[in-house]
Every structure is written in structure tokens, then in C-alpha cells.
């Protein structure tokens, strides 16, 4: 693939800490190679800012191979930028051309307060998992792995849901800031397996209650979450969650 260099204008959200009001700053970056990743372009900018004695831009990132879910960034009106089924760290600069202006904002949701610049606090997602996103099996209690066969289609569907990386792009994209795609992926992952059976009802009820407490909105099935999900988690999982919840809620004894 032929590569080329470009100059870009970046409008980036800067916010000192959670108390600060924040504002956009404009930066010019020069000689960016089309072979760079989007975050490497930020590295270049930050190096230059440090050399000039200015504050670099803080952003979350870790594995840089699209699996840890740490990178965020809402780029030109889309979480994780313009590419389909992609994370910000895997976005490469050949998506842009010389002279482009790129606007970069943090995830926006009351449940995800900004910590600094483009970093947000996503602990709410951990707390949703704490509410029931697990199978209660202490170490050493397991039966032989092949003792319980699992229908292949269900195991595959469970895996597809379990592929969620917990990045929060679904929340960032949703007009309601709903965490339903995240939540439904976890509920589906566990509900589709026989091992998840005993806690199936309490799990879904408690996790939804926790999501509501965290201040996420409700799902209105617009599909924006599915469109931006880096792991292509299906919105059908949300419908499955609804079925699980309604079933559990209506048949409970109390």
C-alpha cells in the first residue's frame, strides 16, 4: 500500500480534572504518516507538546491491539472513529487525508465522568458486573469440563456475546447513554450456557437494577450501539435480555 504524509488540524477536548469545566483546544500536527495508528499520531503530538513545554493530552490506551477495551475517544461524531468494527487504537491514519480537521471528544455520559482530557471513569461497568455478571463457583468446585455438553450453536452464541471488551462505546453512541448492549452481552454470555442456569434470574434482575442506579438511560432500540461496537455484539442480545428480565420478573415468587 502506498503511503503518504499529511498535515492535520485537531480539535481536542482538554479538561484538567473532573471539577474543571473543560474546553476545546486546537492543534496542528505535521508530517503524519498514513501508516501510523491514530494513537501514534497522538504520541507524536504529545512528544511535540512536551518539547514545547506544554501539557500533553491525556487519553486511555493500553494493549493497542483492539482487545483490552481501554482506549476510548469519540472521533468526529463516532466512538472509535470512522471504521467499522474497530477500536481507536486500530484506526490508522490512512483513513484521513492532508488538510483534514478532526474533532476528538471524550465519551459523554453522566455515568462516565471525565477524569482528565479524553479519559473517563468507566467503573460503573465493573459495578454492573459485580451485581451478578458471574457464575458463583468457588475454585475447586468444578466438575469435569466435559461432564456437561453444551449445544454448539449456543456455545458459539455465548462466545459471540462474551467477546465484549467493555470499552463503553455503546454507551457513548447511545442517545440515551444506555449500557444495555454491554449488560445484555454479559447476561447473554452466561444465560446461554447451562453453567449459568442456577443464577439466571437473580443475575438479570440485579444487573438491570445496578445499571439503573448508575444513571444509564433505557434502551430504545435505535441500533447506534451495535453500529459502533468494535466486536460487533448483536443488538439481539438486548432483546434476549428483555426476555430474560421479563421472564424472571414476572415469575418470581415474591
Amino acid at each position: 500500500m502506498e503511503h503518504y504524509n499529511m498535515n492535520l488540524t485537531l480539535k481536542v477536548w482538554k479538561q484538567k480534572n473532573s471539577q474543571d469545566k473543560g474546553r476545546f483546544e486546537t492543534y496542528q500536527v505535521k508530517n503524519i504518516s498514513s501508516e501510523m495508528s491514530f494513537l501514534e499520531m497522538f504520541d507524536v503530538l504529545n512528544e511535540e507538546l512536551i518539547r514545547e513545554g506544554k501539557e500533553p493530552i491525556a487519553f486511555d490506551h493500553d494493549c493497542r491491539e483492539g482487545i483490552c477495551g481501554m482506549c476510548s475517544m469519540y472521533i468526529d461524531g463516532r466512538p472509535h472513529g470512522p471504521w467499522h468494527a474497530n477500536t481507536t487504537c486500530q484506526l490508522h491514519m490512512r483513513a484521513y487525508k492532508d488538510g483534514d480537521t478532526i474533532v476528538v471528544e471524550p465519551w459523554r455520559a453522566n455515568a462516565f465522568p471525565v477524569i482528565k482530557d479524553l479519559m473517563v471513569d468507566r467503573n460503573a461497568l465493573d459495578r454492573i458486573v459485580q451485581a451478578g455478571g458471574y457464575i458463583s463457583v468457588n475454585t475447586g468446585n468444578a466438575v469435569d469440563a466435559n461432564a456437561i455438553p453444551v449445544e454448539k450453536d449456543k456455545a458459539d452464541a455465548s462466545f459471540a456475546a462474551a467477546a465484549c471488551i467493555g470499552c463503553g462505546a455503546c454507551v457513548a453512541a447511545c442517545k440515551n447513554s444506555s449500557a444495555m448492549l454491554f449488560l445484555s452481552a454479559k447476561v447473554s454470555h452466561l444465560a446461554l450456557l447451562p453453567q449459568g442456569g442456577p443464577e439466571r434470574k437473580s443475575r438479570v434482575l440485579n444487573m438491570v437494577a445496578q445499571m439503573d442506579r448508575e444513571g444509564f438511560g433505557a434502551c430504545t432500540n435505535t441500533g447506534a450501539c451495535e453500529a459502533v461496537c468494535p466486536k460487533e455484539i448483536s443488538i439481539s442480545n438486548i432483546a434476549r435480555l428483555n426476555a430474560e428480565y421479563i421472564g424472571a420478573g414476572l415469575v418470581s415468587e415474591k
Binding site: S33, D62, C68, R94, I115, T139, A142, F159, A162
Partner: protein
Amino acid sequence: MLNSKIPAGPLDQKWTDFKGHCKLVNPANKRKLEVIIVGTGLAGASAASSLGELGYKVKAFCFQDSPRRAHSIAAQGGINAAKNYQNDGDSVFRLFYDTIKGGDYRAREANVHRLAEVSANIIDQCVAQGVPFAREYGGLLSNRSFGGTQVQRTFYAAGQTGQQLLIGAYQSLERQVALGNVEMYNRHEMLDVVVIDGKARGIIVRNLVTGKLERHFGHAVLLCTGGYGNVFYLSTNAMGSNVTAAWKAHKKGAYFGNPCFTQIHPTCIPVSGDHQSKLTLMSESLRNDGRIWVPKAQGDNRKSTEIPENERDYYLERRYPAFGNLVPRDVASRAAKERCDAGYGVGSSKQAVYLDFADAIQRYGKGEVNKRNIQGATPEMITQLGKDVVKEKYGNLFDMYEKITGENPYEVPMRIYPAVHYTMGGLWVDYELMTTVPGLYALGEANFSDHGANRLGASALMQGLADGYFVVPYTIGNYLADEIRVSAIPTDHPAFVEAEREVADRINHLMNVKGKQTVESFHKRLGKIMWDKCGMARNAEGLQQAIEEIRQLKKEFWSDVRIPGEVNEMNPELDKANRVADFIELGELMCIDALNRNESCGGHFREESQTEEGEALRDDINFSYVSAWEFAGEHNWNLHKEELEFEVAKPTQRSYK
């Protein structure tokens, strides 16, 4: 004197015997005992949840925003276990033997055997937690084969096995958090160990959001902080992976084992320019179907598709006819380097070789034509059918390659080059996973124990989970049983105060250098020294130069580094500076260790020690030991040797010709 505390008795009875005789802590006392766990990858999360379940008061720390981000998540291929579900002759002994041999006879037999013994329990535990491993149509678990073995014992979940296992452990951890047995500290980085009366009693951490230093007490401290591959700057590790926790422990008395043993993975996407921040691995499984080649002519600038068949050099098939493209990782990596160094490399950087699927596509295409009984298939049709098969097998890897490089690997061969991937070395630990500091443990990649000089594919996940789920819950009791009379030490104890002051001084020192060069630029320079002189091939002269260069770099770092921002705020540059400062010191020790080990074994290739054909030559007479380095002041280390005894797996020379 090193005491590895290996239990007496026959190899296959040692662990059973240990479990039968180790000390126990009663439930009431467990509630009073506090355990600190640093790192929440496979080892850390599994240890935290298991110890929480047992009733210990656990505090777990990670520098990421959630325990689920740890880099275990990036492991692709799978996890080994001696289940013998395929009825192909696997057993605990075979897994043990393959691991010892794959490690080029530089691992401790007793530890490796224990690893093989508990491997089956890991799979059971993970399945019970809801890890969605790949299954057959009958509903039972599926296996695949991996490098260095002759049986199918690798369990997998597509190309995301690490992710699924980590999420399983993470869920268990979060359950313990919900139950109040584990207190989780996200975005906290450990900056020192507190040692009181010779025992590890706590840690000093920096809250990365506020910049405040905090003191935490624990009756025992477990470091599950992963490997140090980022000392090379470019590696397949995550950006945040670092050696700091292990290094602080080392400076507080924990010996460092085999620091020079690093694994260079042969199939990674090559560097595209100076901007490169990390490297991405392409699963080893690609070598099952891809053929590796370079042009026969030096400096051939033609496009890959324009080079005719008879002008291609399939060098692995030429050099190793028996194993061909499936030689072990260390051999494949060195062969690629040899070709590129000799001027046969491809791509704009010339630091790459081709991994070509054209043959596989044709082979699979023809196979499909036969299978479906298609008469008069056109070449286009065959190619298309072949591509479909390849897509089914490796689709996600091909997509990833295309995202990064912008090239379509179905049409043109992939360009690959070796990259730093895993560090077999780490904190020296005894059989109980305790370092040379009592009460301080190291688990998973952070310790040196199970992989010798070369790790087999799909064994890292196995070791991390073995340590956390099934080893440390037993061995820690053996230590804590004697600690029940020690009540929690208040964190205003002078040792805590002193440790925190040291950390604060160092941070202030770093901030006050106010030099000109960025942390990143130092890290890159360190990485280049390490890669050039302590990378895939090492020699005495280069290593001596490297040691000098690193010492020089260290001086320059401490006199010219520039860190923006303040101490008492979120400051990622400061965090990075702390880590790079430790990498620089570690780099020196790695070179010293590599210099000391004048033999080639596994991933450690000393040019002075090779056969006439250029293959690695081990020296069992002089180097059949673990190097355990004791820190003795700046630029100064004492070497302690743990002699390795092979009672069951007798060392032989590896050959793949």
C-alpha cells in the same frame, strides 16, 4: 544460600505430598489475615478471587481503569491441559516432558510437573465459570495442536482465548468484590514494597488519578505484574506493561531469576516507521498453512507477486526439511533475522520476510473442488474456494493484518518479522512461589519458574491460572499459618513512613530534573540498545558495549529528562518516567545475565556458542543452573546459582533438521 524448598519424594508425588502436609489456617484466622495482590491479569485475578473465597482479606491493585484490561487479555492461541480428551496419548507426564524440553532444560522439574498436574483442573474451573471454549457438534470441548507437541491438548476460544479466560477470572474477582472479600483499587500503581523485620508487610502505591501516595498493609504481598518485554520499547506487550513492581521488590531483596531469557515471537507485523509504538502478534497457528520465504537475490525490490517461484528462497524448508515452517519459535525467529541481516529482507524497511498463503489457497481450493465434486472448475473458482477456506480458519487474523497494514493478505503475502513477546525470566521464587523476601510472592509471568529458556505456545495462560487458582491458595497457608499472631501493622509504622518518603523523593527528583528530552525518547533509545545487543542474537562484545551504553543512558536520563505537569494530579508522563527509570536498570541486569550465560539455550542465543551449521549449542556442564541475581547497590549484583537437577527428563540436544 538459595533454598528452592522442593519437597522430597518421587516427582509425581511431590505436589500431593506437599498439599497433604502443608500448614493450614483456620477460617476464623483467615478473616484476620490481609493479603495484597498487585496486578489483575490471569495470575492476579485468579489468586485474588481464590484467596477471597478462602476468607482472607484481600486488596487487589491494577494500574488500568479496570481489572479486566490486564494484558493477559491479548493472548490469542489457547491454553494447554493434559486432559487427553482426544485419546491421542496425552498425559500429565507428556505435558511435563514437552514443557521441560521446550524450555531447553532450564526449568525446575518439580514446578513444571505440578503445572502439568493442575492443568486439567484449570479447564474444569474455567468451564464452570462460563468460559465459552470452542466445542464440537456433540457439545464437548474441541482441541487443536500447537507448536512443539505431538498431541492435541490446546483448548481455545477462537483467537481470543486469553480474553475469555481473563473475563472468567475477572468475573470471579468481581464476585468477591461484591461479597466484600476483595477490595479493588483501579488506577493505582505499586511503587515500593514495605519490608518490616525482613518480611514483606505492605506496599506504597500511587493513586494515578489524584497523584497521592498511599500506604497499604498486608501480611503477605503477591506480585502478579506480568513480564518486562517492554524493556525493548517495541514488543507485543501492552503500552502500560512494566517491570516496576518486580523491580522494586528486587531492590528490596528479591532475587531476579534468568533476566536474559526473553521470547522473540516469529510472526508479528513488522515495524512501519519511527513512529511505531508497539507490535502486534499474528498467531503461531498461521505457520500451519503459510510458507515463509524471501527472494533469492539480495536487495530484490520487485513486488512479491512479480518474483517467480524459482527465485524464491523458502529458507525454513531448505534449512529444516523435517519441521519446515513449523520449527519452534526461537529457531524460526533467528532464521528470519539471519536472512534480513544478510540483505534478503523485504518491504520498505527490509526488516521483514513473507508469509505466503498462495499455496494453501490453491491446495484448499482443489480440495474443495474434489469434496464438492465440481467438474471443470476454473482457476478463479479454485482460488475463490481456497480463499473461503482460509478465511474460515484465519479470517480474524487476516482482518487484523489488513487493518494495520492496509494490505490484503488474500492477494499478497503477509510481511512478518519477529518481535519480543514474553519474558521467561522474572523474580526468583521457590516451590511455594515465594521470593527471597519472606511473605513476598511472585505469580505468573512475573516469576521465572516454569518455562526455562523458551516457553511453548499456549503455556503462559496455563501457568498464570495454575499459580493463581491452584498453587498459591495452598502455599500461602504454609506461610500465613505462622503469621496469625501478627496483628495488622498500622501504616504509620516507621517502615511505611520511610518507604513512602523514598518514593516521594524519587518522584520529586524526577520532576525536578526539568531537562530537555522526553521520557519516550529515552525509552526508545533503551529499546534500541537492548534489541540490537541483547535481542535475538547476543555476543560478549555487544553485551559489554550495551552495559556501558545503558549506564550512560541512565546518567543522561536522570539529568536531562523532562516531565510536564504536576505531582499531585493525573500525570501519565510521570508514571511512564517511573517505569522507564526501572527498565533502564533492568536492561543493565539483563545484559549482565546474558553476558554471564556463555551458552545458547532456548530464546537466549550466544553467537559464541553455536554449531557449525549455526544452530544453538547448549552447555549443560557449565550452565545447567538458574541465575538468581541479588541487588547489591547501583550497577552491582551478586550471582546465586540454583543448580538444576534432571531426575526424570534427561537433557538432550534439540534438533529440527
